[in-house]
Amino acid sequence: MTWNQIFSTSVGKKITMSLTGIFLILFLVVHAGLNACIWAFDEGETFNKAAAFMGNNWVPRVLEIGLFGGLLLHIFQGYSLELANRSKRAVNYAIPYGNKGSKWYSRSMAILGTLLLMFLIMHIYQFWTPSRLGGMMGIEKLPEATYNGKEIHNLFYEMKEEFENPIIVVFYVLACASLGYHLAHGFQSAFRTLGVHNKRYSILLSSLGYGFSIFVPLIFALMPISFLFKLV
């Protein structure tokens, strides 16, 4: 079997989903950890320095390319699987099976994913574009902050500004909920797809998955909330 054949079967496509999914989960850990620096209560100094480190070091920049690649693959493969899977039942049931045998969110990964995609577009436009491309092609530049005589992007200030708008905060919190449900299924499903079948590990991984899908989105959700209520 060629590599192409291996990844083009229904199982192979799922392996792609699983590997990219796990990569994105790892990214979430880094992202959440970094952003948690806003709670250092130093008017964003730690956070801005950490963000500047990530922005100026070549390792994260290279990984960032991989991240976008993985993300695009995850999105593309996800939609193509969803379309293919939907086409396998030309005549639908009069009475749907519904929640009698599975969780609604496990059947709604594409919808949850679409919500996340919409969120991501906005999120990237709000923060990533000005931070990386600010000044080019007429894109607005981020404000700067000066620490020890060095000038770096003041992302903290940018967040503060954006999250003064309650509508944006609500949208972010909803997106975090989508993320939570997407992860609640995706986390353990990814490991199942990679072949974890021993009871010992699958129980461990599914507990870890549920914990992760609550904890990480909660951290993200608390960020705009903290700004909105001026807690940082």
């Binding site: 199982v11 799922k14 899977n85 009475i95 045998g101 199942r192 009871k199």
Partner: protein, 254 residues
């Protein structure tokens, strides 16, 4: 002992053959004993239809003891009806109450085309087995049965997977019409035994390819199949299949 009896309305899918489109028809049945099996209730209905000179409802059934895997009704939104770990033929009317309306549909999946009424064509399952669901051992080649001790847990797990009756409820339940539970039950049954070892790589690869070819969807681990399976085949078999697939891909020599 006087058994409770009930009157019911049945909404049943009627379809003349594979080429026509079908529709639901409603029927009334009276004095159904709660001791009856669901299919015996259908027998009563069919007898009624014969008396009215109408065509009885075609449905697949044979052993009526939950093992042949032939019966296949999607009852009130669930393959094999409301009971857990059960086949249609073992469902008894105790599960319903007087005045209920019961909707009965055939399995729905492109890979299981309807042949007539509630009868579907499941030969795609046979072709999946043909793709590698066996041990290549000709009659007469065997060594003594006790020459190869097998870990009891492995043998028990293998048996638990081999209990699959091939009814197709997993496909009927899956939102993707995936046959992965069926497939993985066979892959696990043989992968867990030393006898299945020599062909393990080609088996999983060929069977997955055949499943795709037959028009079944991909597995998204929702677990609806496991919750529906009359023999409670575990979802972990699917994970085992994935492992077999991954290892076979990675260790392929070419």
């Amino acid at each position: 002992m006087a058994h409770k009896s009930m009157n019911l309305t049945l909404k049943v899918w009627r379809q003349k053959n594979a080429k026509t489109t079908g529709q639901f028809e409603s029927y009334q049945v009276k004095n159904i004993s709660e001791e009856m099996s669901f299919l015996e209730m259908f027998d009563v209905l069919n007898e009624q239809l014969v008396q009215e000179n109408k065509e009885p409802i075609a449905f697949d059934h044979d052993c009526r003891e939950g093992i042949c895997g032939m019966c296949s009704m999607y009852i009130d939104g669930k393959p094999h009806g409301p009971w857990q770990a059960n086949t249609t033929c073992q469902l008894h009317m105790r599960a319903f109450k007087d005045g209920d309306t019961i909707t009965v549909e055939p399995w729905r999946a492109n890979a299981f085309p309807v042949l007539k009424d509630l009868v579907v064509d499941r030969t795609s399952f046979d072709r999946i087995i043909q793709a590698g669901g066996y041990v290549s051992v000709n009659t007469g080649n065997a060594v003594d049965g006790n020459s190869l001790p097998i870990n009891k847990n492995a043998a028990d797990d293998s048996f638990a997977a081999a209990m699959c009756i091939g009814c197709g409820a997993c496909v009927a339940a899956c939102k993707n019409s995936s046959a992965m539970l069926f497939l993985s039950a066979k892959v696990s049954h043989l992968a867990l035994l030393p006898q299945g070892d020599p062909e393990r790589s080609t088996r999983v690869m060929n069977m997955v390819a055949q499943m795709d070819k037959e028009g079944f969807g991909a597995c998204t681990n929702t677990g609806a199949c496991e919750a529906t399976c009359p023999k409670e085949i575990s979802l972990s078999n699917i994970a085992r299949l994935n492992q077999e697939y991954l290892l076979s891909s990675l260790t392929a020599s070419n």
